[in-house]
Symmetry: C2
Subunit: 208 residues, 2 copies
């Protein structure tokens, strides 16, 4: 199950700082976040941030690595299960991801924006166990291609399309809302519609 960490109740000072940092970093990004903002948000003293985390940069790295790995791992956990059919996987991924992102809508833009700066350095520190997940899914995907269920031979296109259809509207949200005079509940309504339709669209696409 995809579970956000932002809902845990922080107890210790260290956890309070981390939770506050997550909130502020998600909203404003590293560059525009001042350690003072984190101190205010958490209600603790400014100096304690450096006492517990040594620097703003180190605190940030902890937050973004946790966010990235939980975001990626939660897809991989679904993809890796050999018992689940591809069609079911699609439904699970679409539904749980849209729900997650509606709860924490800043995450996709946060990841995209922050990864722009030092992607290689950051991604090198990610404990990725992609290999097994990829191989399980590739095998399953290849079988579907071989048996004629899916026409598109490249699983990368499949994944780009799937994740893109889920995530892109959230990334483009400001532009989308402005250009079409949507308020936030209009927008969320559209995303709810997509939970049902993306699996249908994906199926039709991959048949073509």
């Amino acid at each position: 199950m995809i579970q956000s960490k932002a809902l845990k109740k922080p107890d210790t000072t260290e956890e309070k700082i981390k939770e506050a940092a997550r909130i502020v970093f998600y909203r404003k990004g590293y560059a525009y976040t001042r350690t003072r903002d984190i101190a205010e948000e958490s209600g603790i003293n400014l100096a304690l941030i450096n006492y517990y985390f040594r620097s703003k940069a180190r605190l940030f790295e902890i937050i973004i690595l946790e966010t990235l790995s939980s975001f990626i791992e939660s897809i991989l956990e679904i993809l890796i299960d050999e018992q689940t059919s591809i069609e079911t996987k699609i439904q699970i991924i679409v539904s749980s991801y849209i729900d997650l992102i509606i709860k924490e809508p800043e995450i996709p833009t946060f990841i995209v924006s922050e990864l722009r700066n030092n992607p290689n350095e950051l991604l090198a520190k990610l404990p990725l166990r992609h290999k097994t997940a990829r191989s399980v899914f590739s095998k399953q995907y290849k079988e579907a291609v071989d048996s004629g269920i899916i026409k598109e031979p490249n699983p990368l296109h499949f994944l780009m399309n799937l994740i893109g259809m889920i995530v892109f509207p959230f990334i483009a949200k400001p532009l989308l809302m402005k250009a079409n005079n949507l308020n936030i509940s209009d927008f969320n309504q559209l995303m709810q519609e997509r939970k049902k339709r993306i699996p249908i669209w994906i199926k039709a696409m991959m048949d073509a």
Copy 2:
């Protein structure tokens, strides 16, 4: 035709600064760009940036507004033409956008990242003439729905899917390349494949 402004040869000092600013802002974003970087990139003196543009913020606003409006207008120009069928529009948009973004791959992430900060303030300054374009396209789309060519009744879903399939891979590029051990020419190869396939996928989706 979609034409990037980044290829113009700058003559005057003012244009040199603008071109350099565009390059550096695209690459690093507003926050990480120092006026000193722009001065170096353009080969002009630091003080001249303020002489010609008064502030870093004003220079930035000029760049991002130009980028946004040219990016948006170039879609609208295609959508607004009543002579072109929807199918042809899709092909034109897909093909010319992918080519444009391969030439200037930082633009999508630049727009997404920078629009996170003050979207309303910025978008309010955009001279949008969305109305006519939207109404022409909506009409054409509605006709296609009524005559049974397209099943998906909401043109917003159509546009989100179309633009998302084009743009999302570029936004997710660092993650995508890392997770699949792609180099830049592998990546561009994938995008070239998408020029042919997106129109087919879109057609299949909208039929479903």
